[in-house]
Structure formats: structure tokens, C-alpha cells
């Protein structure tokens, strides 16, 4: 494995880890559920995607053949993360989860209230 590939791998891994951490900090710090939903479902998915791309490059150069079974994880994660976020938001609206008072005027007209 030459110098260039190794630097690219290191860069991808650090970018992925930083984005995953940013998503979890959003989950820890933001004030209510509807804001917290944004952190993990967007940032963490991007971070895990970058780490999986790093893994594809690493195993492709190690085995001298294209290694494609990480693509499965990537594809599955990128399809299912928005579906899960949609279902969680729907459940939260259904059971009337608390909103921060400064966002209450943006209540949607389509909810079951």
C-alpha cells in the first residue's frame, strides 16, 4: 500500500469519525425531540458512509480485487435511515411530544390535533 492511499484512508476515517461525533453531540445537546432528530439521521449517516468508503478502498487494495460487500451495508443504511426518521417523527407527533415554546407557532396543520 503506497503513501497516497494511506493518506486518503486516514483522511476519510477522520472525516467520518468527526461527522459521527457531531451527530451524537446534536443528540446530546439540542433542546427538544424534533430538533434532536436532525443530528443523528443526517450527520451520522454521512459519517458512517465515509468510514465504509475507507473500508472499501482498504480491502480493495489489500486483496487486489474489488471488495463490494461493504457497499451492501452502505446502500442499506442510506435507504433505511430516512424511513426510520420519518417513522419516529410520525410517532412523536402522534403522542404529542413536548416542543420548545419558541417553535410552537410552526405547528403543522396536518397533525391530528
Amino acid at each position: 500500500m503506497n503513501e497516497w492511499t494511506e493518506n486518503l484512508l486516514g483522511l476519510l476515517i477522520i472525516i467520518g469519525a468527526v461527522f459521527t461525533l457531531v451527530g451524537s453531540i446534536g443528540l446530546y445537546k439540542l433542546p427538544d425531540f424534533y430538533m434532536r432528530l436532525h443530528g443523528p439521521t443526517k450527520a451520522s449517516t454521512l459519517g458512517v458512509g465515509a468510514i465504509l468508503i475507507a473500508s472499501v478502498i482498504y480491502f480493495s487494495t489489500k486483496q487486489d480485487a474489488l471488495s463490494l460487500h461493504e457497499i451492501l451495508v452502505t446502500l442499506f443504511l442510506f435507504i433505511t435511515a430516512p424511513i426510520g426518521a420519518h417513522l419516529m417523527a410520525k410517532a412523536a407527533i402522534h403522542i404529542n411530544t413536548e416542543q420548545v415554546s419558541r417553535t410552537k407557532k410552526y405547528h403543522s396543520k396536518n397533525t391530528t390535533k
Partner: protein, 89 residues
């Protein structure tokens, strides 16, 4: 370079795991706990893939794939339970 960035990645993702675990314990409402579980399994996929690169073994992807599938099913089932009060209808 690769060794150092792998170690930095392990540290950062471990902090992310601790933060989502905090939300899982504390979370004021039930959707918060579901979201924390979702984040927890995504972070564990990341740390499994990093372990696979670190130990130069490709066994860990099967585990990552299994966690991805089962975690999605779990999230959908828990959200359905909150929506309907029942999982299978």
C-alpha cells in the same frame, strides 16, 4: 498515518457512543429513547468497521450488516408500537 488516524477515529466514535448512551438513559420521552437506540446502532456499525480495518479482517462486515438489518427492524417496530399500540395488526 493510518494507525494514528484509526486511533483518533476510535476515540471520537467512543465519545459519540457515550453521548448517545446518555440520551438513552436520560431521554425525557419515549421517541427520544428510540432515537438514541437508532444512533447507538449506527455508531456501533462505525466502530465495527474500524475494528475490521484495524485487525485486517473482513469477518466484521457480516456483523455490521446483521446489526444494520436488525437495528432497522427494531426502530420500525418500536415506532409502530408508539403509533398504533400494537406491532402486528
Amino acid at each position: 498515518m493510518l494507525e494514528l488516524s484509526l486511533q483518533i477515529g476510535f476515540v471520537l466514535i467512543s465519545i459519540a457512543l457515550i453521548l448517545s448512551f446518555y440520551r438513552l438513559i436520560k431521554g425525557p420521552s419515549q421517541p427520544d429513547r428510540i432515537l438514541a437506540l437508532d444512533t447507538l446502532y449506527i455508531n456501533s456499525i462505525a466502530i465495527l468497521v474500524l475494528t475490521g480495518i484495524y485487525l485486517k479482517s473482513s469477518v466484521y462486515f457480516e456483523a455490521a450488516l446483521l446489526i444494520a438489518v436488525m437495528g432497522f427492524v427494531g426502530t420500525v417496530a418500536l415506532s409502530k408500537y408508539l403509533l398504533r399500540g400494537d406491532i402486528m395488526e
